[in-house]
Symmetry: C2
Subunit: 217 residues, 2 copies
DNA sequence: GTATATAATGAACAAGTTGTTGATTAATCA
DNA sequence: TGATTAATCAACAACTTGTTCATTATATAC
């Protein structure tokens, strides 16, 4: 990315990004002006416009860059492998690599997933995880008539819980190692929803939810 | 709220709120100006300032009002009752009341929890649920040495998954009834984490995660 | 229904932000 | 070192903001 660029440009962009991050943290994205950023970064306001169209553009490029790095790792996740690890109570190596990628951009994600953060951005990651799971999950599920919960809700649950744990890890200063977080995810997620999908494990047999049911148990 | 208010004021505030919601949906909160809202609502710009300090103030009051209505219901939730329902595969009545409250403000929450939504707002609800659970959960947990997952991660998981399911329900047009959603929540959440906390259910015994562990199982 | 109170309008204000331009200065690359 | 390219600075019109004040319109109370 920064290869083959004039060192002055690299410096300017770093200063602008750093200033943006600090401003988001202190007053939220809504009220940040180009003037704010330029002042804070000690860069001429005109210089800002040599690089970006407006504040949203600066943030958007950064978001895109960070997302792409995560996506490259996330597509390598395989639900079957994850479950295999979970059953052995081991962390899932591919998910460790993924968490390391978040760790590498910790400052950025801490702000973007924090109280001044960006919901649309978080939803993008959730959707990434969701669609990634959908491709694999049908092999695992019992017959549809055995499902206790509609598939879309199950996927929502899996991605929400994962992203939630990720967010908590980031917010709390990333004190646990990626390996430890991965193990937590394995334990919490696969022991849970496996049972919820009607998968072996429990002895309790529960009827399926129909969308118009009153009470069928 | 709208009692004892001049009908003109009520009308103006409704117009302003409606305009704000439509503008957030179409272009996001960041670039909305007072001029935008006034034009869209067909209200004089000066009139806006008779009611609110700025755009953020208008949104903030609305958020606060909606949050308070939810909070009043949420504090009545009791984790023990919820688990009792879950074990009988029944929806939890108190959570149905809560979901009905969301339904009553569906238009607002659909925008606030959607792609143009507000992360800080969503985190407030997550925190509400989290702190509410914390007060009750210690009675349920096995001894600390038996816990498979740190308590803060377990709480994060529970609240994230719940809020995630809620968000999916709202986003997908609230087609299921509150009762059906409640039942989904019961099935997905309590079958899962109960096992994950080391609660009876499973025959598999897994060691506890220590924050510096390498591998201890 | 009429009178009184009060909400909404419309016009005008300085102050601040935006996005752009062109001339000048400074840093980097080869 | 010289040529190239980035950053700076000042100035611009257009727009938004937050406020004021006189005027018009509409509820509410009697």
């Amino acid at each position: 990315m920064t290869d083959k660029m004039d060192r002055r440009q690299v410096r300017t962009q770093q200063l602008l990004r750093q200033a943006l991050l600090e401003l988001i943290e202190s007053k939220g994205i809504d009220s940040i002006t180009v003037t704010d950023i330029a002042t804070h970064a000690q860069v001429n306001r005109g210089t800002f416009y040599l690089h970006y169209r407006d504040v949203a553009d600066l943030l958007e490029q950064w978001k895109e860059e960070a997302f792409e790095r995560i996506r490259a790792r996330a597509v390598q996740l395989d639900l079957n492998e994850a479950i295999a690890c979970a059953l052995n109570d081991e962390p899932y190596p591919t998910s460790i690599r993924l968490l390391e990628e978040f760790l590498a951009n910790g400052d950025f994600f801490r702000v973007m997933f924090g109280p001044r953060g960006d919901l649309s951005y978080m939803l993008r990651f959730k959707e990434l995880m969701r669609s990634n799971m959908y491709n694999k999950i049908t092999y695992i599920l019992p017959e549809e008539s055995e499902q206790l919960v509609p598939l879309d809700y199950l996927l929502t649950y899996l991605s929400s819980a994962n992203i939630g744990i990720l967010q908590h890890w980031i917010e709390s200063g990333m004190k646990l190692s990626p390996r430890e977080v991965s193990l937590i995810m394995m334990r919490i997620l696969c022991l849970g929803p496996l049972a919820a999908t009607g998968y072996k494990l429990g002895k309790i047999q529960l009827p399926r939810i129909s969308t118009s049911a009153q009470r069928d148990g």
